[in-house]
Symmetry: C2
Subunit: 528 residues, 2 copies
């Protein structure tokens, strides 16, 4: 498919897709869980700019007028990157805060929608979005409105210790926000602060659950357990493990880092638990052209998983896995693999923890990426963070609440101000059908990248993420150079693993942005 | 000293103390680090209520008018605790969120100043303050103002990945906020989210620093290190330890929990690192009456510390310690012990990490509790959270920045919205001399508790916290019962360790609140 860049053609294409979109919306309206009830109204499909056609058409001037004020295109102004104003500010920051991982020093007040503005005024189309953590664009008016609300002010200035002193409205806040998008089958939540502690508290829940079953219901802790736990020794502090997968990433604190297998730089010099890793499938792309050999590879990995956990020196109580390995290089597996993994964890009385920190909240064209899998039973635990702007883990089995109070506890246990922000994000996602929108725009973008890959076969290898929304990546033989040059054509884009360029646009990414992205990527290829 | 409760006497006493306070303020004005410049003005000392006399008297209508609107006294209205409205709300919350550690379900919109209001309208004088994490009272107007500011809105709706995409004003935000109160000798910060990850990232810095020195400057990681780290094995993932102290508390994630030694319930069933614990002094109170035997006990613990780290199975790279063991029971040690510990860590090339998560930000009558110690050299790392409303660790040695980028990193690396909140907290603390104020009110409260202890020697054991601001505690033979009954007289108070009642009032706690507290405590004793 040829990418349309001419504006008239673009309008036509967009509004054609908008019609398909409406049909999809109508189907989605039956999705009671998300409570979507679009009322199609054709005359509202074309906005003033002609190319912003949201799926359902209940009155939502905010989103349309918001995007109408976006810059028309990226604009790279400085002779080099970073420019002189940025250079100076970076040096100033570096005196007090390590800046060696600094990518761009930003002016967030000027950033808008899909566009990130740096201190020198360079305007970058942002398809990295704060490491996949901005859901609705910079300076989103709905978020602005809630940030200025009395609710938000109250939560900010009166931050509670939620486990001891929750506010009377916390149940309502959870139910109308975080829990309104709980993955199917899961109806409870433990709230946390970021991806790492979401995963670690999930691991703790898994360990306590394992020992609960081993100990027998109602059994009290023994004196020996109490005493030995204080010495970090068994049986109170037992030798138990979480299995993760090669190239997986689950965070950087001590427990989560022990399950992270992305790169040595993440792990070097830090003591870790002697926990196992299983093979993650290394599939051939495009997946649909390598069905049989990929199936074999996935079966090999399932066999390896079972061998690994059966032969480990201690009980392996849970497996943790990302739906798409993100930091590790955008590695995909098919539903066959995840179904097999679910079944193996059931067979061996293990928990399945799905780490949706990066994949969750809509970017894959489902609210949760694991909804693509059709598992025989839901994951036991699903963790979230990033685009949620808060964090935690969902679960369904009430026995995953530990046997006693204060076993899973900390002072803040989350943050109502962030829970309110997520509630608003959820509301905007639903109101604007942004999950379906992202599925649609993702398909459009993937298709355009397929065409580009045919034109530049030396530059785009292993294009992946088909039918995974905008969660798209490819391998580049000049990846690090690509990421740098991208800035000079007005793109902010990130990498993952050894060679991948990963796209992580926001949920408000439109087909026109996809066209711009393709144009800019081609501009880079043409320079080479 | 007899507690003054008569209002006329109280006014006189308060304003006498206010004069002493002014003198202290003038001295403090010379403290250039805190940039304090009070302009005494006697006629402003007595507010409309007659008993709120702030130390320095620059115009600060906000704080005075804020406190003037506080409830006059606690008010317990319901027949039982929790009352019927609370009971219903707790049941509703419990359906989705574990409430077994729930203490009070609150109405934060109605809470004010030092008073916490529950869902049934009970008005409690709050000397627990969200587990010591509320610095300036509920619905503080200065915090309200900043929460409504454009700065705050910007930070909330455009949350950056600080390590990659900091905003241009982050250096300024750090320098005028978090770093403006950096402990003497420390001038850099790594920002985090809560106490646990502040400590864990500090531990990671300590491990990387140890291996840097061991490896030799400029040495690259070997192939073997890179490969073994991915398997969680040495040498890439080395066997190294952090030593902590018996009864210490440093958090509940996997690394921090391995250093936590407070109670089995915090640790049971969770795998931990084989790290050592050293003896923490068990002193006799009041400290000034047991100088010699306490000195011996502290020397015994220093000797035990040295033995412990010398004989451990692997290198012990750092010691982590709280200035006052808080969760573990409000256990104190004297400057002699901490000076000795500093010297021993230097002698053995170890880092000293001071965990000021609970003691920091003014409550002990110094901004940082370790400023009471007069160490021979500053701690290497100081961690903070709670009353800072954000978290992280301070350090001074530039080599505590790891050798390469992305070694100490995560997506958010803190939160500018919380950094802005802390900046405002710091500004209010300085403007109102709240550290000195807390030292003064603490001395007053301690003295009143001493009198009460003489009157009720069976109820107040081991009163402690003299000259430690309001960071005061005592042991109670009926502790758990005391904490429950306290609610019914209108007090919200917390426990720590096995038998301690710990006071953690806010920095805006006044002498009149101290009087009320004493009155209510006595009311409980009189019931028994």
């Amino acid at each position: 498919m040829r990418v349309l860049r001419n504006s008239a053609a673009l309008k036509a294409a967009d509004c054609l897709s908008a019609q398909r979109y409406l049909a999809a919306s109508a189907r989605n309206a039956r999705n009671a869980r998300l409570n979507i009830s679009p009322r199609p109204s054709a005359q509202r499909l074309t906005s003033a700019t002609g190319i912003r056609c949201f799926a359902s058409s209940t009155s939502r001037p905010n989103m349309e007028s918001y995007l109408a004020k976006e810059p028309a295109a990226p604009e790279f102004k400085t002779a080099s990157f970073p420019g002189p104003v940025s250079e100076k500010a970076i040096a100033e920051l570096d005196a007090v805060f390590d800046t060696r991982s600094l990518n761009t020093i930003c002016d967030y007040k000027k950033s808008y929608g899909n566009y990130l503005v740096d201190l020198d005024g360079n305007v970058l189309l942002d398809v990295y979005a704060q490491i996949a953590s901005i859901p609705l664009g910079y300076n989103n008016p709905a978020l602005r409105e809630v940030a200025q609300s009395e609710e938000m002010v109250n939560y900010i200035i009166n931050r509670p210790a939620l486990g001891n002193f929750p506010s009377g409205d916390y149940a309502e806040l959870l139910k109308t926000g975080i829990l309104s998008v709980a993955p199917p089958g899961l109806n409870q939540v433990f709230t946390a602060m970021a991806g790492s502690d979401a995963n670690e508290t999930a691991y703790k829940a898994a360990f306590m659950y394992y020992r609960r079953r081993e100990r027998g219901e109602g059994a009290e802790f023994t004196a020996e357990e109490n005493e030995s736990a204080m010495r970090n020794a068994a049986p109170g502090s037992p030798d138990l493990a979480i299995v993760s997968f090669k190239r997986g990433f689950h965070g950087r604190l001590f427990g989560s880092l022990s399950t992270t297998r992305s790169k040595p730089i993440h792990k070097l010099d830090i003591p870790s638990f002697n926990w196992p890793q299983a093979e993650f499938p290394q599939l051939k792309y495009p997946l649909e052209e390598h069905v049989e050999e990929n199936r074999k590879e996935e079966q090999r990995c399932l066999d390896n998983f079972e061998e690994t956990i059966k032969n480990w020196h201690c009980p392996v109580v849970a497996a943790v896995i990302e739906p798409i390995q993100s930091e590790g290089g955008d590695n995909h597996a098919t539903p066959f693999f995840f179904q097999g993994l679910r079944d193996l964890t059931k067979k061996h009385n293990m928990l399945l923890i799905v780490d949706e920190v990066q994949t969750g909240v809509g970017a894959t064209g489902k609210f949760w990426a694991h909804e693509h899998w059709n598992l025989s039973s839901p994951p036991d635990i699903v963790t979230f963070s990033k685009k949620a702007q808060t964090a935690g883990y969902y679960f369904g089995n009430p026995e995953l609440r530990p046997t006693k109070a204060y076993r899973q506890f900390n002072t803040w246990m989350g943050d109502p101000s962030k829970a309110l922000l997520f509630k608003t994000i959820v509301s905007e996602i639903k109101k604007n059908n942004l999950v379906e929108h992202t599925a649609e725009v993702g398909a459009y973008l993937y298709s355009a990248l397929e065409s580009l890959a045919k034109k530049y076969p030396d530059q785009i290898h292993n294009l992946r993420g088909k039918n995974q929304g905008t969660f798209i990546a490819w391998d580049s033989p000049r990846r690090d150079e690509f990421l740098k040059v991208a800035k000079t054509v007005g793109l902010n884009v990130g990498g993952s693993g050894e060679a991948a360029i990963r796209l992580r646009p926001m949920l408000i990414f439109q087909k026109k942005h996809a066209d711009l992205l393709i144009e800019k990527v081609e501009e880079i290829f043409k320079k080479w």
